[in-house]
Symmetry: C2
Subunit: 302 residues, 2 copies
DNA sequence: CGCGTTTACGCCTCACGTAAACATC
DNA sequence: GATGTTTACGTGAGGCGTAAACGCG
C-alpha cells in the first residue's frame, strides 16, 4: 500500500470515471488502473465492481474511501507543516462564468500566482450548470458560479454578489413607455443560455411581472450579447457597472429601475469531501477578489 | 514522501542507531540512510543532525515523529481491517529469560505460530537487564522479564509470577540448622549474574535477613546452577516447581521455608510509543501462556 | 460501434545491496 | 582504529505510457 495507490483510489472513487481521475493525477489511465489493481491486491479486497459498463465502488471501497482521505490529508498536513509559506503546488483546474472571466478572474489569477508560484492554474470558462457538472465529475477543483448548486455532492459558499439591470438600445427604449411593455411588444430577450445563472434571474423577474412567453436569443458570450443589445436586436440584462458605462457612452439605456432585478449571489462551489488545503486557500482568495462592482469592472471596455 | 520513507524515519528515530533500524526493516543501512535522505529532501527539512558521531533527531525530526507514527498506524489499521484474521505478519524479535525459555516459551511460540502463521519469530534468551537494553535499542520488539524496567522508555505489564525457594544439596542442608546459618557459614550463593531479575530477589532477601557480604558464584545458565547446587558447590534459589522435583528425587533439599523469598513478578516490556497491533497481540498471548507454576514446569527434566 | 477499463509490452527510472569512503570519537 | 553514516556504482524490479484487446451498453 502506497500513497500513490491511495491517491489513485481516492480520485478514481470520487471522479466520474478513471479518465478524469487519471487526468487529475497527471498519469495515464493505464497507470491509474494498475495502481488501483495493486492496491486491491495489497489489501486483498475488491474495491471496484467491474461487472458493469463502468467501475463502481464496492462496499469495501466505500469503507476505504474516508480512511484513504484521512491518510492523504494527514500526509498533506505533514508536507504543509514543513513548507508552510512555500504555497500550494500542483495543478488547479477551476471554472468561472464568462462575466467573472472578464472582471475579477485576471486579478484572481495574479493573486494566486503571487502566493502560490508552484500552483499551475487552469481556468475554464463556461456557464454555471456546465461548471457544476464538471466539478461534480471531478474535472474541476472548484467553480465560482451564480447561485447555489442543487447537487447533493457539491458544497457552495457565497463569495460576492452582482447587480444586473435591464438595458436596451436608445432607439428601442424610446419607443415604449416601460420595460414590461417593451418585452410584451415582442422584443426578444438577448441572454445567456438556460444553463447560466443569469437566466434564472431573468425567469424570476418575468414570473414576478406576469410575463409568460417571450422570444429569446441565447448566446454564450457576454460581449456578443452586449453587441446585440447595442445593435437593437432586443432587450437584455447586463451587469450594472457595464451597463452604466455603455449608457454614459449613449450606446444603451438603462431601463425602468422601478422594477429592479434581484441581486445575484455568486458562490464558490466545490466537491463535498474535498478537504484539501487548496480548497480553503482558493475559497478565501476568491472571496477576497471576486467583485462585480462598478469600479472593479471591465476597465478596458469602451 | 512514501510510507517506506516514513517507516525508515520512524525506526531510525526510535532505534539506537541506523544499523538496528535497518535490521528491523530488513534493508541495508545504505537503503535506510537513503530513504531518510529522500524524506528530508521531500519535506525540505533536516530530520537528523549528522554533526556528531551519531545521527540525532533535530527539532523538526522530533516534531515529525508522532505524526509519522500516526500515519503508519492508520495505514496498518487499514491493512488489518481488510485482513482481520489473516494474523500478523513480518518479523518479531523478542527476549525472555532462560527460565521462561525452559518453561513456557515453547508453548508460547507454538501458540503464536498457530495464530499468526505469517509471523517469523526470533526468540532471544538473555538476562533481564540485557533484554531491557535490547528492547530499548529497538533490537527486540518486546521481552518478558522479571520485575519492572527502570527505563523511562519502556512500558511494562505484569503477565505472571514465579515463586522461588532456597535449596541446597542434602549433604550441605543437613550440616546447618537454618538457611541463614548456611550462608553465614560461608557457603557461596550460586546464582545468575547481577543483571538477572532473580539476583534482585536474592539481594532483597539477604538485606531482610541482615546478611551483608557473601561469596557468589555467577553463572548465566540455570541448568548449570542446578547442577552446581546438586554437586554441593553452594546454596541457591530455584523455581519452586523445579526444586520440588529435585527434592523428590532426593537430589536437593528445599530449605527453611519459614523465611520465604518474595514472589517475583514477570512483566511484558515494550517500547513506549510502539503502538503496533503486534504488541497488543503478543502481550495478550504472553499473559495467557506465561506460567512458572509446578505443573507447567520442565516436563522433560529428571 | 462507442465508451470505459484492462492487458501486453518495451522503456526507463529508481530503489536496492555491495563495497568503499568519510567522519567522529 | 572502532563505530556509525554516507557515497559510488552496477544491477534488477517495477512503474510508466503507447497501443491493442476486452466487455458491457
Amino acid at each position: 500500500m502506497t500513497f500513490k495507490q491511495l491517491e489513485a483510489f481516492y480520485w478514481a472513487a470520487t471522479c466520474a470515471n478513471f479518465a478524469i481521475a487519471a487526468q487529475r493525477l497527471h498519469v495515464s489511465i493505464s497507470s491509474l488502473s494498475k495502481r488501483i489493481a495493486e492496491l486491491e491486491e495489497s489489501l486483498g479486497v475488491q474495491l471496484f465492481d467491474r461487472g458493469g459498463h463502468r467501475a463502481v465502488l464496492t462496499e469495501a471501497g466505500h469503507g476505504l474511501l474516508p480512511r484513504a482521505l484521512e491518510l492523504l490529508d494527514a500526509a498533506a498536513a505533514i508536507r504543509n507543516s514543513f513548507a508552510p509559506d512555500a504555497g500550494l503546488a500542483g495543478r488547479c483546474a477551476f471554472g468561472v462564468g464568462e462575466l467573472s472571466a472578464m472582471t475579477w478572474l485576471p486579478r484572481f489569477v495574479a493573486e494566486v500566482r503571487a502566493r502560490h508560484p508552484q500552483l499551475v492554474l487552469e481556468p475554464y470558462v463556461d456557464t454555471g450548470a456546465v461548471l457544476a457538472a464538471r466539478v461534480d465529475d471531478g474535472e474541476l477543483d472548484f467553480a465560482v458560479v451564480a447561485g447555489r448548486s442543487a447537487r447533493q455532492a457539491i458544497l457552495s459558499q457565497p463569495v460576492t454578489q452582482a447587480r444586473f439591470v435591464w438595458t436596451a438600445a436608445p432607439a428601442l427604449a424610446d419607443r415604449y413607455p416601460g420595460l414590461p411593455d417593451l418585452i410584451r411588444a415582442g422584443q426578444p430577450i438577448v441572454a445567456l443560455p438556460p444553463s447560466a445563472g443569469t437566466t434564472r434571474l431573468i425567469d424570476d423577474w418575468l414570473l414576478a411581472h406576469g410575463i409568460a412567453k417571450n422570444e429569446r436569443i441565447s448566446c454564450n458570450n457576454w460581449g456578443a450579447i452586449a453587441g446585440m443589445l447595442v445593435a437593437s436586436v432586443g432587450v437584455g440584462i447586463l451587469p450594472e457597472g457595464w451597463a452604466q458605462k455603455l449608457a454614459r457612452a449613449n450606446l444603451l439605456r438603462i431601463l425602468d429601475d422601478t422594477h429592479p432585478l434581484a441581486t445575484l449571489t455568486y458562490t464558490f462551489q466545490w466537491r463535498r469531501g474535498d478537504s484539501r488545503p487548496l480548497i480553503d486557500q482558493m475559497l478565501a482568495l476568491a472571496a477576497d477578489v471576486a467583485d462585480f462592482s462598478a469600479d472593479a469592472q471591465l476597465p478596458w471596455l469602451i
